[in-house]
């Protein structure tokens, strides 16, 4: 039961984080379309790091 609540909290946290990353990257690309490639790569790396953290928490919580 509690681990399900924990999983929900992890997903909420991860969702907020990914939303921030995606939104800011979008903003950056809109402001500077010529830097789109670099921003995308950086976005994917940060997204992956966040994902690793969230998945780690999910696996440990299971």
């Amino acid at each position: 039961m509690y681990n399900l609540i924990g999983a929900g909290l992890i997903v909420i946290g991860g969702g907020i984080g990914l939303g921030q990353i995606g939104g800011k990257a979008m903003e950056g690309i809109a402001r500077q379309p010529e830097a789109a490639g670099k921003i995308q790569t950086a976005m994917i790396i940060i997204g992956a790091l966040l994902e690793g953290l969230a998945f780690g928490a999910l696996i440990l919580g299971k």
Binding site: I45, G52, F55, G56
Partner: protein, 381 residues
Amino acid sequence: MKVAKKTIKFLAIAVIALITTTSFASISGNADQNHNVQNHDGGQVNTQKEVTDYIQHHLKDSHDFTFFSYTSEEGERKHFGFSLPVILWSSEGLVTFMSSEFHHNDDGHVIVEKNGLKFAKIHSKIYELNSDAATVSFDETHHATNAHKVLDFSITKSVVGILLASLLMFLGFSALAKQYKTREIPKGLGRALEPLVIYVRDEIARPNIGEKKYKKFMGFLLTVFFFIWILNLLGLTPLGFNVTGQIAVTLALALFTLVIYIFNGSKDFWAHTLWMPGVPYILRPILAIIELTGFILIKPFSLLVRLFANITAGHFVVMSLIALMVTMKEAFGPVASTGMSLVLALFIMVIEVLVAFLQAFIFTMLSSLFIGMAVEEHEHH
């Protein structure tokens, strides 16, 4: 002479890598054993439970290849697939037999006798019975009391997947390499592979490792990239592979990255890790502990968990959506449930194709980032 030496070195590395990964894949100890296998209560089949068991079974490694199975009119369970060799290192030495001798039994009721030893398969793991025992007995938590695990070097489903991916890579890339002797631009399959190789070099290795040193690590990065990508894509075929969803396989891959950046770390990297210049002396040991755990534990752990969890979650979602067709039949009727399951499964499947590439890319990208951090040399003023 130089070429021959390099080839031998390459082959030696390839063999070592293969052996490590494959043995990790088959030795993998999975502690999750507490789910029940009894799914027939009084002749009634619990669909929900059967579906869950099927998915759980798929996510694990298995000793045989089953494409599909069904229960015939006479109530007999039929399996379509083929069996794979079982290679065990038991208390009496090497024992080999075909997995068909277990007759698809997975709860320890079929006992195979070889060289005077008795073996039983419980939850896809092979146990050796104690010499005085005739059948496996279980305690309340469903753990075997009179049997113990053996070292299992079997050619399991995952090992077949790894060998298949290696073979595909070997054929594809040796053909590509050969073409450069006679022509500038490769043709055929090589024309599809060349842009990917250049992509890994120019977008992943060069910016992260640096112009001077990237060449040394290209072999590893390309191998890891294509290995993960091919295995992820194999996992989406109906063959039923789940290789990159085995935590042992991703662990072995992450260990390779760890070993590479530990042994290639520059003097500056170790200085900055162990005795950070420019901070008060009292903080330096604390920083060293933080940096060391970061590099030795957390970075490989996040690498292995990310790949494992992504692929496992992907397979779980796809299989659950396909199972909707069965579980929702009573609520929505056969047509609506099949249509819903088809549309949703197709949608997720397309995303999974993207994820298959993305995870290979991320693994390679982060590996090269970590390697880049370790080999970087700082300018001294």
